[in-house]
């Protein structure tokens, strides 16, 4: 059975596309045939993060409008054999995505793919609602910051009412919290909501914590999703999160500042991390 995963957040710029790219790479590296779809019509970006922007010929909207078939639009990933990208179009027509169109594309993908990862646009408009509508699992990407947490809660409300599963009264989709851009140092200082604060407020199972990391910008510069940077903290955190998604028991990392406060105070580092 194909599993459809939506990466969503409500608030913009919290790390959905970064997460979609790394998750798709992570799943495909485990041998699952995976497609990742950019639902952000008009603001195509997943192609850049996946490093395939020069190979985009047809896009999601072309397929929906029957201007191209799915196989022509799917871009094979440059690193991983079983990974395909379906780019968003740059059209400014907001109604380019239709429920029937999305449904047809997902049905077609479901014939051959194990996982379909849907990179949602920000907001709660049509694009975001279509990205979540057919999902079996939702990864709610949240930053430890008031507006992001509030928007995530809002999305949880939509996920429990505005999806196909909810409308058909089927078993609800599985919800996962992914806390990203986390800085244990700022949490220790009392400047940032802690993991346990966010966990307590949103009250959905925690999939992982991705630290604020310079590796993410480097990865986007080169067009290689950060999960491929296995030396980096963020890369490792994404690897762990994918493992947990697949049911493995992996302890959480990057949630504690190294050393106690006395050590921190006395053991000065010249270079500020994050």
């Amino acid at each position: 059975m194909t599993k459809i995963i939506v990466i969503t957040s409500g608030k913009g710029g919290v790390g959905k596309t970064t997460t979609s790219a790394s998750f798709a790479v992570g799943l495909a590296s485990r041998g699952f045939k995976t497609a990742v779809i950019d639902f952000d019509i008009g603001l195509r970006n997943l192609d850049l993060i996946m490093g395939c922007e020069r190979r985009v010929v047809y896009d999601f909207v072309n397929v929906i409008r029957n201007e191209a078939n799915l196989n022509q639009a799917l871009i094979r990933d440059k690193h991983i054999k079983d990974l395909f990208i379906l780019p968003a179009s740059q059209t400014r027509d907001k109604d380019a995505l239709t429920l029937e169109g999305v449904s047809t594309v997902l049905d077609e993908l479901s014939k051959t793919f194990d996982y379909v990862v849907c990179d949602s646009p920000a907001g709660i408009e049509r694009g975001a609602q279509l990205a979540m509508y057919f999902a079996d699992s939702a990864i709610v990407v949240t930053n430890p910051e008031v507006s992001s947490v509030r928007d995530s809660d809002r999305m949880l409300g939509l996920l429990s009412s505005k999806t196909k599963r909810a409308e058909e009264g089927r078993e609800p989709l599985t919800e996962h919290l992914l806390l990203t851009r986390y800085s244990p140092k700022r949490v220790a200082r009392g400047d940032m909501l802690s993991l346990s604060d966010v966990n307590e407020i949103l009250a959905i199972p925690l999939l992982g914590v991705i630290p604020e990391s310079q590796a993410v910008l480097r990865a986007s510069n080169s067009g290689d999703p950060v999960i491929l940077d296995k030396e980096s903290d963020a890369g490792q955190a994404y690897l762990d999160a994918v493992g947990r998604f697949l049911g493995e028991k992996i302890p959480h990392r990057f949630i504690e500042e190294k050393g106690n406060w006395l050590k921190r105070l006395l053991n000065f580092k010249e270079k500020e991390t994050v």
Partner: protein
Amino acid sequence: MTIANKISRILDYLKRPEKTSHFAKERLQIIIAHERGTRDKPDYLAALQKDLLDVIAKYVAIDKEAVKVDLERKDGYSVLELNVTLPEGL
């Protein structure tokens, strides 16, 4: 790193700005509890509440908070609950 440097870092540490994350948590808990309460309610409920308030206010001087409209879903049917608190002495 010189001793002076270390001392200045210690002083910085001691006079660091006030912690703010607990404000964030408290404010979130309040607003989210409130928003969850209205989450699955249809949008017309707020408008209905206002219209009812206007109608009743034509006859009795009542408070803005005095009219409460709630919709509760049971399996198969919904209950529209209307609560009006009239001022004392009427």
